[in-house]
Symmetry: C2
Subunit: 330 residues, 2 copies
């Protein structure tokens, strides 16, 4: 089996490749070869039981996708995105990568499908986002609530979902779009994303560093661990897609907690001294942005289809400690 990962240098891409290298297989089929690409050359996994090639490519360039598909990968992960803030500040770049990049890939697969008289029909996994939804929301968003993005990033994801569903319905490939919750706890350094604090207030105190909480404790949000995000992708790559019918895009399960509940979970797992490293410092801009985000979903279809997530936020913290601190803190 041949795998293509587009966006392999990103946080989820790296963790996905680590998991594939550890498993050596996907859905019972041994992985023979993996091609890993991103806008910067991704690192190859250190001890993968399969051949790995890497390349730096820009999926905004029209010539790229046909070259990526020429080797007929069996499973394609499309994880690459311009993030929300940049897609808002650079309209052309956001559409070029998030819409035209996805469409160019889908179209390159279709051309290969047609040229092979239908023989080539890969599985395509696409990471969408809960940013396809826009306020006002019901208290709990169900699987049939409409997509009304309030950012260009969300519009680009919603459009790519529609393309993925139509190309899949027509039989050009076998696609699954997964709407990821906010990934928490994000490893690495604090970043400038408006959502950064959800991870910062856990990751930084666990590492003995202070963190700023810019919103009130009653802000509720929808989370899943990086490990779950990888699990979603692997499950989507191996599931029976006949059960999806024409509805190919799924809101992934998550854990809906308030910031106060996040802090309580941190206290339960790591103790009061760690929690004391959180400093309250209200930020009106971040509060306003976050107020427009969805906070809770009933992801019934994904749960019925076998996608699994943490049971509670304490488990999300424990997974972070296992995966990023070797199981120990302090």
């Amino acid at each position: 089996m041949k795998i293509l990962v587009i966006g392999a240098a990103g946080m989820i891409g790296r963790k996905l490749v680590e998991r594939l290298a550890r498993d050596g297989a996907l859905g019972g089929a041994a992985i023979a070869q993996a091609h890993l690409v991103d806008i910067v050359a991704p690192a190859a996994p250190q001890e993968a039981p399969f051949a790995t090639t890497t390349a730096a490519v820009d999926i905004g360039a029209a010539y790229v996708a046909p070259k990526l598909i020429a080797g007929e990968p069996d499973v394609i992960f499309l994880l690459a995105s311009i993030v929300s803030g940049e897609a808002e500040s650079d309209f052309d770049k956001g559409y070029a990568i998030n819409l035209d990049g996805a469409r160019g890939l889908f179209e390159a697969i279709r051309r290969r499908h047609l040229a092979s008289e239908g023989r080539y029909r890969p599985r395509v996994l696409f990471t969408s986002s809960i940013a396809v939804y826009g306020a006002p929301f019901p208290a709990v968003i169900d699987d049939e609530f409409f997509a009304t993005p309030l950012t260009s990033y969300g519009a680009q994801k919603a459009i790519s979902e529609l393309l993925l569903a139509d190309y899949s319905r027509r039989g050009f490939f076998d696609g699954v779009g997964i709407r990821l919750p906010t990934i928490c706890v994000r490893p690495g350094k604090p970043n400038l994303a408006a959502s950064g604090f959800f991870s910062n207030i856990i990751r930084e105190p666990l590492a003995g560093r202070a963190a700023v909480l810019p919103v009130s404790e009653d802000v509720r949000h929808w989370h899943a661990s990086p490990r779950s995000a990888v699990g979603f992708l692997v499950h989507a790559a191996t599931m029976d897609t006949a059960r999806l019918g024409a509805r190919r895009n799924l809101t992934m399960p998550g854990v809906s907690v308030t910031v106060g509940q996040q802090i309580e979970a941190l206290r339960a797992v790591a103790g009061e001294a760690v929690v004391r490293l959180i400093r309250r410092e209200a930020d009106e801009t971040i509060m306003r942005i976050v107020a427009g985000w969805p906070s809770n979903f009933a992801a019934r279809r994904a749960l019925d289809l076998g996608f699994v997530v943490e049971a509670n936020f304490e488990d999300i913290i424990r997974i972070h400690i296992e995966d990023e601190h070797g199981g120990r803190i302090g």
Copy 2:
């Protein structure tokens, strides 16, 4: 005020232009000039109180939209579409016109908006379709039900809606997308569209000709007259769009009736002899296609925003008699 109508040779386009020529104004502003385009050159209205130019253009060609926008029309009607059946049989052409045609227009407006430092910001009216919805449906589809098209045409309309909303949110233009019901009674000859019989069984008997009914009388569907469709467009062109917020695409009001109720209305308006011209002849293919179509909507937002439609199917028939038979039948 300068008007641009793209798709002016189509049934709704022609009736819109007739209405504009009759009114001579839009929202209280006199129309100085109208540019009418379609894939074939549209007819200019016979006695318009404004200057009219016409042209045959293909909006699938990238050079066309910037030329159409160069004259800075104040109000732009985008009515042109590849119809559902052709968009399904010719995948490339459907996407080229229904998606790239719309996007190319939106992008040409944005370029002009940016070049004018924000001065140029026209009103854009886009005809979408209830084909953005796909079965299974609730009995009544509300304004927050999700778009899951089951045709490439529906996907292209849903994508264009998302683009229109994002370009409007960013302030590049002031867009309104209107999801038309099935237009009934369509004037002209019977066509091969699967939905054709909804009009055929009214229009043909009223003209003294036989018509075939290929489905059972309990099939329910969502209708509006051609006159209402023009009314929707004129209202969308003149309404206060501040009331729309970020949700720029609206399901238009309609009349939900079964085929049996259509026939009852025809009997009430035109008598038993006319109804006897309808011949039942079941068509399994058409029955299967129609079973996937939505049949009833609660179009509350559009009604709240002042869009109006016929009160019942008898009125739809009477309007057809007024507009196409000079008010007399038999």
